[in-house]
């Protein structure tokens, strides 16, 4: 692990800059708006992957239920958009005008109480972050305070994902059921389906993602980040030093949940619908592989991992649908057996190390070499 600590700050900054250039300039120039919208969709998953780097890579706690938080954020946004799309004039053919269409199909005659706050845009934005964070806090507080971690935590988060999926599908009248919430059109009167709007939403997504990476990076370089790593590797020693291990873990887990919620909201805005197929166990585990492929210790790697896996998924499931699952299986097995540090790890060991070696040779400085050797142990 110390390989990653050896990374100097400047190198981190350069790679973030390269990522930003790629997302802000290169991709919008290369791709048409349809493809760019797809990239924007993938980037909304990248929020989850970045959160997983914090929770799993740094915190050592694997959550198999990140789709829950992604979904909650997405649904909070979708509820607001759906209410806006169901004004009494557009829905006048319904038996109860002014409520979402799926409620009308399910013989519900008045807007349920739970839906009322989502008429307010500011409340909905608040809920996008607050609802996932609150659920994350409840789950993680109960678990981490009792010193439960590892596989047990993974199982519980998985169960939460199953519960939420069954609940959403079962309560059709309140949630839109298995189809989810569709036909989302405008945001505060602004049509989100036009090409211009898609460009703007893409840039909002990129800006928020880079902001999230900076925030996480700041946490990693702070004392809390060091403590997280220490807890992952020697939990008891950190505890004996007088730190409350649980508090740090709860904080990280809530942070990841909040990020996932933001990602979910951006997904809803860019794709125009939200459905339970982004909440359950399968998408949640898939989100783990995004982070794993990119490198579980690298925030920027997680973004690349998300982009590559999703682009691969789109390509293969269009052209060779039979091969995709095998490839995905290969990714899961390969990443755990052969490349536990993912793409970022490969990049480190093949490119950065050589470059550093070359540089220190050129300088002939002994101290650099010593530092590098120390870092690579």
């Amino acid at each position: 692990m110390s390989m990653f600590q050896a990374l100097n700050k400047r190198y981190q900054l350069i790679s973030l800059f390269i990522l930003a250039i790629l997302l802000v300039v290169v991709l919008p120039l290369l791709l048409d708006i349809f493809r760019l919208n797809l990239i924007g969709k993938y980037l909304s998953y990248a929020f989850v992957a970045v959160g997983l780097v914090m929770v799993w890579g740094y915190g050592g706690v694997l959550s198999l239920g990140q789709g829950v938080f992604f979904g909650l954020g997405g649904y909070a946004m979708a509820m607001f958009l759906k209410l806006e799309a169901s004004d009494p004039i557009t829905t006048k053919i319904q038996s109860t005008p002014g409520i979402p269409d799926f409620m009308d199909w399910n013989q519900i005659t008045a807007l349920p109480l739970m839906w009322h706050p989502f008429k307010s845009f500011s409340f909905s934005l608040f809920a996008v972050v607050a609802v996932p964070t609150l659920l994350a806090w409840i789950v993680s507080f109960a678990m981490f305070k009792r010193r439960v971690g590892g596989v047990y935590f993974a199982i519980i988060t998985q169960a939460v994902a199953l519960i939420l999926t069954v609940l959403i599908i079962g309560q059709q009248g309140y949630t839109g059921g298995v189809n989810g919430m569709t036909d989302l059109k405008t945001l505060l009167g602004w049509d989100t389906r036009t090409n211009g709007a898609k460009y703007i939403l893409y840039y909002v997504c990129v800006a928020l993602l880079i902001g999230s990476i900076l925030l996480c990076r700041w946490i990693q370089t702070s004392k809390a980040g060091t403590l997280l790593l220490a807890m992952r590797d020697k939990e008891d020693r950190v505890r004996f030093s007088g730190y409350d291990v649980a508090d740090f873990r709860i904080f990280t887990f809530c942070l990841a949940a909040a990020l996932s919620g933001i990602g979910g909201a951006l997904f809803t805005l860019q794709v125009g619908f939200m459905s339970p197929s982004f909440v359950g166990i399968v998408p949640s585990v898939e989100m783990v592989i995004f982070a794993a492929v990119g490198g579980r210790m690298s925030l920027i790697g997680a973004v690349y991992g998300t982009l590559i896996v999703n682009a691969g998924k789109s390509f293969f499931s269009e052209s060779f649908p039979d091969l995709w699952l095998f490839l995905m299986a290969g990714l899961f097995i390969g990443v755990t057996m052969a490349f536990p540090m993912g793409l970022a790890g490969l990049w480190e060991s093949f490119v950065v190390t050589r470059w550093e070696k070359y540089r220190s040779k050129a300088k002939g400085s002994q101290s650099d070499k010593a530092a590098l050797a120390g870092g690579l142990q």
Binding site: W56, L62, L64, V139, A142, M143, R146, V148, G150, V151, Y152, A154, I155, I156, Q158, A159, V160, L162, I163, V166, L167, I169, G170, I281, V282, V285, V288, I289, A292, D322, L325, F326, M328, A329, G330, L331, F332, I333, V335, T336, M337, P340
Partner: protein
């Protein structure tokens, strides 16, 4: 409605709970051995069950084609075959993959998820994407009616009997056989077990394979209840994990008790609520109890 009708409804409802108990216990049993005794999370558990189910389907298919006369008796042999197929595959998976990952529990989880994806695609490619069900022998169809008005489904009885048999066999094997002794020694102190001449890596492989084999048998039993598709396994996986964790991972008896408790809660809830809400209620209850008592119902008293 008179008293005997009420009694019949009560009995049938109770039996519905019992057969759910049998299903959950069969699901959890293989996992209890692998997860409880070895600490390995096998996310492909559901797919090993699907292997067993497909074995039954294929045997029924082949019997129909080549030996239609054996239709009444092929089933028990096919169940044994299901055990062996899953056993062999489990052996292979342990040898290729799991043994390298014992020290990294969370990575095992991801690797076995990969295996489950690959197996699903294999089922889809080689057997077909459609749900299939075998032609069951007559003695597994219909219901057994000891008194008029009381219908006990025979497939439920069969699953219950198989569950009791397998559970008994596993409990007996763990407490009496040489294998059980080795497993218990390895679980309680791996280094010491190694030092006194137990081949722990061989024990691990055998244990994993037996757990997979039992999963195969469970899948075989489930063909009497429902149909099998490539992704059927994923439906079982969370339930099986919860049964095992809720019971207390290291305790087989805990698995039995927790399967019973969960099954009765769910069938009782289904009596009053809509099906999906009953499921939500049961699962939430388990999760809340696990949050309060993470070690499960029966915690092992051994210090680790």
């Amino acid at each position: 409605m008179n008293f005997s009708e009420l009694l019949n409804i009560g009995l049938m409802q109770g039996f519905a709970g019992l057969s759910l108990f049998a299903v959950l216990l069969l699901m959890g049993l293989g996992l209890a051995i692998i997860f409880g005794q070895m600490g390995v999370i096998n996310m492909a558990h559901g797919e090993f069950m699907t292997i067993g189910a497909y074995t039954i389907y294929l045997s029924s298919h082949l019997t129909e084609l080549y030996a239609p006369g054996l239709k009444q008796i092929y089933f028990p042999f096919a169940v044994v075959l299901a055990f062996f197929f899953a056993f062999l595959l489990g052996w292979l998976v342990e040898w290729v993959l799991i043994r390298h990952l014992y020290k990294r529990a969370l990575d095992t989880l991801l690797a076995t998820w990969g295996i489950s994806l690959a197996m699903q695609q294999c089922f889809r490619t080689f057997i077909g994407p459609k749900e299939v069900s075998p032609n069951l022998p007559d003695w597994l169809l219909d219901a057994w009616a000891p008194v008029p008005g009381l219908d006990i489904p025979r497939n439920g009885l069969f699953v219950l009997a198989l569950t009791l048999f397998v559970t008994g066999a596993v409990l007996l094997a763990l407490s009496k056989s040489r294998w059980g002794l080795r497993v218990r020694a390895t679980v309680s102190n791996r280094m010491m077990a190694n030092a006194i001449g137990i081949d722990t890596s061989k024990t691990d492989r055998l244990t994993f394979a037996i757990g997979c084999g039992i999963a195969g048998m469970a899948g075989a039993a489930f063909t009497t209840i429902g149909s099998t598709g490539p992704t059927s396994g994923q439906l079982y996986i969370v339930d099986s994990f919860l049964v095992v964790t809720f019971g207390g991972a290291a305790s087989l008896l805990g698995t039995v008790v927790s399967a019973f408790g969960i099954a009765q809660t769910q069938s009782l809830a289904e009596f009053f609520l809509h099906g999906s809400m009953a499921k939500v209620l049961t699962l939430s209850l388990i999760v809340v109890i696990l949050m309060m008592r993470p070690q499960g119902l029966f915690a092992s008293k051994v210090r680790r």
